[in-house]
Symmetry: D2
């Protein structure tokens, strides 16, 4: 069985593991106050071309999103997100568990626009009974989105300027940020992003580490006392240096980006294979997640050999599935899937 | 200025105030453990034809909804409500502040159906990643809804049976319950309701009291330790007998229902006046809230004499407004509004 | 049975009720945006000799404490209080339910000192692992305390200066503020208090109103968006003018203070009666709550005629009880209790 | 610099890392639904001699404590703990952040007794105003405690029977459980523990893993829907098999216990070295954490060579410190510390 249903089926890139081995018996202070975390922090500051930013290292994505949103909002505020946003759907109400409403905005492709954000903001502030409603306090995006779609630099700039105008924090969930930045369709750089939001994450779990998310905070109000928030949310790893060591390993010479580009290329190869054979894609993704719409017969046949994620029933005879590549995907796995498509065509 | 924009512009029915005067210097135990609360509890049990139910008296509606929902749900559960439901829109995120997501279901008329509830339930339990999502634990309805619309007995029965099937609590917000039950279009009685939900409220604030909501709980799991929850949510009124005295005054001989019928009749008089003059209604309401769609010129003219609530822009030249009658509305106020419509027609 | 066990056994002062009657059928905007609330706000600003302060009217004390504390603290902060403080003992964990720890400081008399506050503050900030602990963010006092004891002006000034030094909010719970300020042992005025804290409440429920607490906020950070917080905590009374009308009635000519002085005088009469008969007092109270330590035989005899609150077992044969006077206490009730003491002496 | 200030200064036992290497490129399902977690679960069930228990694997201790306590308590309930308990002091209010009060009981040695638990329980239920107070719902212990002290089997049995009587959940935090069970002073086995609580954790982070806590749940009410709670609290590790692989490595042949015994022996060697040289111990610990009281001059000298944790000032000239051994401590490190003591004696 070849697993293409997610991008976290394997462990870590071999270099990451090797570094953990090499540093294993060193003694360091706990809770992220070690030299490896300091060094990884510097790498990220350099990559972002922003010296003054804070960088924290957390274990997982839900933890990262929850901690930053809970730290940012006052009790009567909520966070604007696309209806399909991870915080609105797949975090078991973690945001609400900290007391905050997700102000969900419907979106066909998983993206928000500056215009929609402004509409939510204005409809709140123009309402005479606004004190009876949750006040928007933050905007949450993913780059790339849950659907694999990408914000362009112009779209992000528009959102950022809107948030600045409206006094809203802007947070970008980068659980798959590398796959976004390395996409052939991406027109923004890491420094571009770092200058257009108040905070963002750089995902490690799905991009070659065993686990770990780097959280970059630039807005002073978000930075204040942030380690308390991490601890309260259970994210202050005792052996914090494990995160520092891993991020150092993958960032020191650009391995993070190289691995992401590899996954994106394989994903686009798959996309083209589906499209040239006449299958439509549910979302217009140029990143490592692809969403072909398949006849149910084909799907059944593929599932004998491949693990895929069933995404949604499209009609009586067709189903959209998610196919993921990752830093660990072998080109042979992609070739095998394409051959399986061909076999189906022949029958 | 004649106020028809809400149903809480005046104080209380004269009998309610008189009873507060008569009992004013009596000394009673605090926090609802007095004889007036006991007597009001009995009235409600008799009216519901259910002896075993618990009845608590709280001050306001947001408090009542929040307390019962927070007491009912486990931390990973959410409450299903119509998108327009009061808890989803007009309680400043009070439900989320207790840690729970409102699972909002779009609804044109403000009502939910058993089919929709079952769909939410099944789509949760059939999802392989359901542990990553909020589990439905309760259904929240209003009778009548925010839009003045009513559930029929058949619709409520369907919802109740669905909830029983699915293991979901059913709670009915009756902030305007009297106006619902006394409507010419209502085919259910209070005992009908009391047998088709796990808990419901009987609104006093908008129905002739100074303030106060009676909360009826029948499900044993909701009843357990409930006074702790009331206290934690700031709802255990020190002089609890104020609630008991008021509910006794309005329930002892059916005054509550008589006042509601009065308001409904005036509201239907208004509805017919709008409709016979060719104005469409935004919602099909048979209760004390009516939502005519008016030309903006007419609205501007009416607003010189009447306080109305602007509900929504319908198109470039029309606006839907809310017009409310209440237990306190004078027939002359309604006549004055109708005359103003006629004056507009003549111009 | 004569009730002296609490100060909320009756309704309201007759003038308060009369004003509710007189204004009953006036139509006003809801939620505290009416002329009566505006006028009561002005009375309070004048009494405090501070024009710039905000004044909100809430229904009850737990609600008031919870709302202001939750609005003031960031998620990782807690509130310093005496172990016996109302928020630590008698609010069913309402503060914790909003996510915040009460940092309880043991206190024999129910009071905190500036030195203790500074110690909590410094022991936090000097701890290398402080990020693993709740950060002090606010100090909560009651004037008078749960035990009837009073802060002197010098003590309050010391606390205020400490809080200013440490960057801590200072909130004073004045559920019985009138009984404090009118005490023969009190050396501070309302303007003194208003200049030495960031917020405080003026209790109405226990001081002649049916219900209601005025919340005075002076710190800009507490004032911002405060009505949202009130609504979220269920405290935005639909007919908010009921609070305004009541506070106007009792504040317009000093009735509030006159009633408090009446209660304090009767309480001191009781205290002297106990002391001259050789009974010790558990706390050194000069306000309307007195805590005599009684032989169990005497207590049993008193309880046939009087409702008192059992406070704590002192030893095998003695019990401390709370005896309360209030705005409504008749001098005859106090005389009856003193006669009962004499009868016991004679046996 | 030799680090003896904590038991998480190094990475993991070499076998643990090797297993991560060996399994690194295997593809497994995520979120703990893999074969390694299943196998580790079986090991633990066998070691506990209880087949029916649930076992979950989480990343850290604060996360584990918070998740199980929040899942267990209803909103009006709190958790009884020693004042020095980890959840009361060193989790930045994580328990309160989920809405629950820690009902702290003072304790000289960090332990609770059945009698104290019963007293808290009875004083709650015997109070006429108990609805105004937090209801005890759970008892939280650590074995060993923060102070290194141990519950005997008789003490645990007494606590368990008390909790059963009172309807309280009993949860045992075993962040250092191995160091407890392997202590020369411990008279209980893992099966003994597993039959005397509703849930407990088996710490990995401080006992030879990179990170990871195994959470054992036996009470059906705690087990229900537990994975939702883990996810909501950010504890459902995407590559959950990392936890399974590590726990398999350390449990398969008793390595976990062997490493703990090693640390305990070195700790007792240190204790005896301190005691024979006349230094008193702050706590009577027989586990891997020792708390000698040292002259400040000695402490200053030791700190040039060793990292120790300053615990508390004992008097003007003495300080209690924490000295930890762990699975990774070399006997040479302990010898070096003892030699340093001798050098101090000679001066």
């Amino acid at each position: 069985m070849i697993r293409l249903e997610c991008d976290y089926a394997e462990g870590a890139h071999e270099r990451v593991l090797r570094r953990l081995f090499e540093t294993n018996l060193e003694q360091t202070p706990g809770y992220g106050e070690d030299l490896y975390c300091a060094r990884a922090r510097e790498y990220i500051q350099q990559l972002c071309q922003r010296e003054g930013i804070d960088v924290h290292f957390l274990v997982g994505g839900t933890q990262t999103n929850t901690t930053v949103i809970a730290a940012a909002l006052r009790p009567h505020q909520g966070v604007i997100a696309a209806t399909s946003g991870h915080i609105n759907v797949h975090e078991t109400g973690a945001i609400e568990a900290t007391g905050h409403k997700v102000l969900a905005v419907p979106s066909a492709d998983g993206k928000l626009t500056g215009r929609e954000v402004r509409r939510v903001y204005e409809s709140h502030w123009q309402d005479a009974t606004r004190e009876h409603m949750v006040q928007p306090g933050m905007v949450y995006l993913s780059q790339p989105t849950e659907n694999g779609t990408l914000y362009s630099l112009a779209e992000l700039t528009d959102l950022w300027e809107t948030c600045q105008d409206c006094g809203l924090f802007l947070f970008v969930d980068g659980a798959r940020l590398g796959y976004g930045l390395m996409s052939e369709a991406c027109d923004m750089t890491l420094p571009d992003l770092a200058r257009r939001c108040d905070g963002f994450s750089i995902g490690g779990t799905k991009q070659g580490l065993l686990f770990g998310e780097a959280l970059v905070l630039s807005h002073p109000a978000l930075r204040r006392d942030f380690r308390y928030h991490i601890k309260q949310h259970g994210g202050l790893l005792a052996k914090g240096r494990l995160l520092g060591v891993q991020f150092c390993a993958i960032l020191e010479d650009g391995l993070y980006f190289e691995l992401a580009r590899h996954a994106d290329r394989l994903a686009m190869e798959l996309r083209r294979a589906f499209e040239t054979r006449g299958y439509e894609m549910l979302f217009d993704s140029y990143t490592n997640q692809q969403y072909p719409i398949l006849p149910d017969g084909l799907l059944a046949q593929l599932e004998e050999e491949f693990a895929l994620t069933v995404w949604s029933k499209v009609d009586g005879g067709h189903t959209a599935v998610r196919v993921c590549t990752s830093w660990a995907t072998e080109p042979q796995a992609v070739q095998a899937l394409i051959r399986a498509l061909d076999r189906w065509e022949e029958t």
